[in-house]
Symmetry: C2
Subunit: 256 residues, 2 copies
């Protein structure tokens, strides 16, 4: 597995807070690293930035002709179906392997982590935050898939990874997770989501309106900003990444 790590200039020998960025469909660790323009602000905020590859890779790893399933599909789940379960353990990879590997080699404080992401990676950020409240102090997302159990791509992928029992799917769907767990959390940090209104996937796949309604139903604080004219590209991410890093700084640095 490959990942990139940015370490800001350090003023002492201590460990630093960090943010994990999860990328979307077809991406690797390189998309965010080269295109998001995040590191100037990350240096200013004193945040380590970790950007992993988004899927298992290799010729012996299962894949699928549909690009939204298999290698590059960027679901941050642990698959249970026989074809997928050996390699597609991305939830465990992010939470256990990746963080501990980074801690071994870089000055990261794993108790002060935020998580964010784009598109499928935005969904990954929301779900990992909701499933693992002990692991992340803050969360944000760019153009996230919000309700995979209610979109074509998500339904096809979940059927492959988890089988046909849709009740199991709910534990891996950001909107369903918010409805089920949003009211029970002891810590309820504000969720920041940015969404472009010229995004070609907005109506068919992303559906932030469903997540917004779920937050409202459990009175969970959400700042969902809709931006006229912005599409689904990394130009959108680069336009607002500084504000997301400030959001994570407020939770991971200033409340240290």
């Amino acid at each position: 597995m490959r990942f990139s790590v940015f370490v800001p200039p350090r003023i002492s020998d201590g460990v630093l807070p960090g943010v994990i960025f999860l990328s979307g469909l077809t991406c690797t660790e390189e998309n965010f690293t080269t295109k998001a323009g995040a590191y100037k602000k990350a240096a200013e905020c004193g945040l380590v930035i970790i950007a992993p590859d988004t899927s298992p890779r290799g010729k012996n790893v299962p894949d699928d002709p549909q690009f939204f399933i298999g290698q590059g599909a960027s679901y941050y789940i642990n698959a249970t179906e026989p074809q997928w379960k050996t390699h597609f353990q991305m939830e465990q990879y992010i939470l256990n392997d990746l963080i501990s590997e980074v801690v071994d080699y870089f000055p990261l404080d794993p108790s002060r982590l935020g998580i964010t992401g784009h598109s499928m990676g935005g969904h990954g950020a929301l779900t990992l935050f909701l499933k693992h409240p002990e692991s992340f102090r803050s969360v944000s997302a760019f153009s996230p898939l919000c309700a995979p159990t209610q979109s074509e791509w998500g339904r096809k992928a979940f059927a492959m990874y988890f089988g046909s029992d849709e009740s199991i799917w709910q534990a891996h769907d950001a909107t369903a997770l918010m409805k089920a767990r949003g009211s029970q959390r002891t810590s309820r940090p504000l969720i920041l989501i940015d969404q472009g209104l010229a995004d070609e996937f907005l109506e068919s796949q992303l559906r932030p309106d469903l997540f917004e309604a779920a937050c409202s139903s459990v009175n969970y604080p959400l700042r969902l900003r809709r931006h006229v004219g912005y599409d689904h590209s990394y130009f959108f991410v680069s336009s607002f990444i500084d504000e997301h890093l400030e959001h994570h700084r407020a939770h991971c640095v200033e409340h240290a």
Copy 2:
């Protein structure tokens, strides 16, 4: 020929000043566009940004097995040798075709242009600025090749493009041009150059020390900043692009 154009938010119907960014070896119009993180500051400065592909392309265009000659070599010259002269007219392309094409379709004021670039494109920026004082109000460069007639790659390329008469080469070498013309200009705007000291090409190919000496010999104002730890990548460009855009703003916007 392909190019990208960024147009900042406009406060009136008027035309806007702009900056041309010339990329280096093996690049296309995409490298700067996706990796430099320039557009937030460009929007703030009110600058149009034009990033052209760096060479003629296509299966009928001459090329060379050496990657620093031919397609992608990113010399901004008009070749005179028979093999190259039909297509390799990048100096004329930038000055005539590109600018007039952009003016036809975008709100660019061609009388308020700056030019910058990276590596081979940094050399292109310096030489086009020195050859055509009427065309550019400001210039800057990142990690530029500074004296191709004194480097291996430059000597091989110039022999191919211009033939073996080295006296002709001098008219296309930034350091030689500065010595020959730097004292004669009526307008002598400050040249800004940033150079990383961990740049693998610094000693063998780039040689900013030679350009610095040439500027000193004709008393031309140069700000050459050497940065410990930075390499030849676009991460270096993205680290200092904001300051370069401020430099061009000072000449192209504020002195309008």
